[in-house]
Symmetry: C3
Subunit: 267 residues, 3 copies
């Protein structure tokens, strides 16, 4: 993947301002909306059964996130997902905490079964639990990560028949045939809540303007990590509060030169 | 409207710390509460059917916002609104995303029909959809804005029999007879989620201390815009993350001199 | 209480990263999660009846907060609390706004009656209302505070049979027999929403690593206040927006020397 194509994809987001419909958890709504706005996309959140499908139909992409799931929002996710599937709108899924409780694991598996998901993004434990592999999880954070992440991602892509993005120290993006490893990002991301959730929504924004979903995923993951690296350079001495704010600033400013300088993508 | 009366109205908010009851969406709760605290008001949020009316009765004003509406919160809005109406407590309404889905449009129209709303605030598309005028909307953002906003606001004020505040590049405040155009504010407000919602709650805070609701509305809109301009001066190079934080700082600091220098209000 | 034991307790949090399960209000979810992450703990939020108990069972502590209560989240609190009680996991309760509406007061009293609460934290008005003493409340903020807070705390600890933490200008921590007064903290805490809620969750984090719950409570309250004082030193000129962010920074950095220099604890 050529670095200059990453910036072109970002520029499409900034120009088209795709409407990204998020049905997400109550912890990250504000940060997700502000992150999407900073990137140049247009966020909307509508989680009532009465309107979830209608909102999905007018969106460029749909992002589902089970971080604080309940039966009503799960119903809305299914309705919105079906509407998106009918219209060919990409659906991105974040199985937050799959494996932590049976309800999460079962709901994540149900969503994968009942909807056509284009891309699933999670940490290694979450993805493993969705596909029924054994993997330790601690709350909503990944546990041991000494398994082979790339192997897990490829297995998951084959079983789930979608693009799999596993984030961690390095990020793996695969459709089961082609696999990319992105080494951008910064450990401070783990000290701010919702940075995984926002990445899922950022992938959603990129799929709203780029039909090649592998291209969209790799561009989103790399650019997101670059913004984090740049934010960390300015705030690592200050702490996670300042990092969170500077990260939003940097998301709004990633330039072509930054991508050339920072992007670390291996096939 | 004399500029010195604006500061007096702000000073009343700071002195009386009016209790503003917000039934609002899950994206903006934190930002709204922090914005009201920065301004000097006292925010409270209670959205259960079991207590919405009780909380409204002890508040100085009630703010209703349908950004992430569902049947339960709509029931709570109606109950709280009826209680506020009985006690003569001002009710301010923000029809977020009216026009984006039938559920939003119908709920917004139902709230206007069943409650006595003192002030409605939205973008041009939202207000147009509440009164049944054709206007494009994209998610929860206004679409084309080449219609005549002032005409739309006056028509809406007559049809809805309340004060109408339409915000955009310039902000229009009208009761159908007297119309003000406020030219404060900054484009960075559109890069932070919930700045429209917070403005609605800030108008609510001002109505909690000022019985002349046109005075309250114009003061709130202008002072809010001034805080944004001052925040933008300090953060436009940094980005939307820093702007959001500095905006809260500036809301807590607007001074008499700032109003004299920045206020732009035309009748 | 020796100052060096406070830092040791903090260090245990940073080392063990206890999983703190929060069933809390929609205003403070993000700030609470980020505050716990900054401190070094691992936050999780799960408020559905379908999983609340399962999540509580794997947590190091459970924090219940009725800031935006509704029948479903209250059911989840009871289920999670019962599961925690069975396993001997500490349950910390924040009766936000008790006294403001009958529903809050009754729910707070129900939670105290049906669950074994280890620690309750609130302002004077909230605690007074939970134990049925007369005390004025304004929304979710404490009203008059000219009563004797220490007496109220001791009475409450005896009636409720748990540790009581009353925060205000000074903070009182008592189990009814031993009473500590902590004079750390800063008035800017009252200009940021959710600082009381986050403190309750921080107490939760400390109880996840320290079996002596008085030690855990005093350490949490003092260290929290120290972070606020240090943040205020850097941001008091800027305003509440900057303070909120710097407070997160400082929570991540409290050092042994800070505690020696700032801690103000009287028995």
């Amino acid at each position: 993947m050529l670095k200059n194509t990453l910036f072109e994809t970002l520029q499409k987001v900034r120009d088209a301002k795709p409407l990204v419909h998020n049905i997400t958890n109550v912890v990250v709504t504000n940060f997700t909306a502000n992150g999407l706005l900073a990137l140049g996309a247009s966020p909307v959140m509508a989680n009532a059964v009465e309107e979830a499908a209608d909102m999905a139909r007018i969106a460029s992409s749909l992002v589902l996130n089970i971080g604080t799931l309940n039966p009503q929002t799960v119903d809305s996710m299914i309705l919105a997902g079906e509407a998106a599937n009918e219209q060919g709108i990409p659906v991105i899924f974040d199985p937050v905490g799959a494996g932590a409780t049976p309800y999460r694991t079962e709901t994540a598996q149900r969503i994968m079964r009942e909807l056509k998901i284009s891309i699933i993004r999670g940490n290694a434990a979450e993805i493993a639990n969705v596909v029924g592999e054994k993997w330790e999880i601690k709350g909503v954070d990944a546990g041991r990560t000494n398994g082979n992440i790339a192997d897990l991602a490829i297995t998951a892509a084959e079983k789930l028949n979608c693009i799999v993005v596993i984030t961690g120290k390095e990020d793996v993006i695969t459709n089961g045939r082609t696999t990319y490893v992105v080494a951008n990002g910064h450990p401070l991301l783990t000290k701010v809540t919702g940075t995984g959730c926002l990445l899922t929504s950022v992938i959603g924004a990129f799929t709203g303007v780029e039909k090649d979903l592998m291209q969209a995923s790799v561009a989103a993951v790399s650019i997101y990590g670059i913004a984090a690296e740049k934010a960390a350079e300015l705030t690592v001495e200050s702490g996670p509060g300042s990092f969170q704010i500077e990260f939003l600033n940097q998301l709004s400013k990633v330039a072509s030169d930054d991508i050339n300088l920072y992007a670390s993508i291996k096939k």
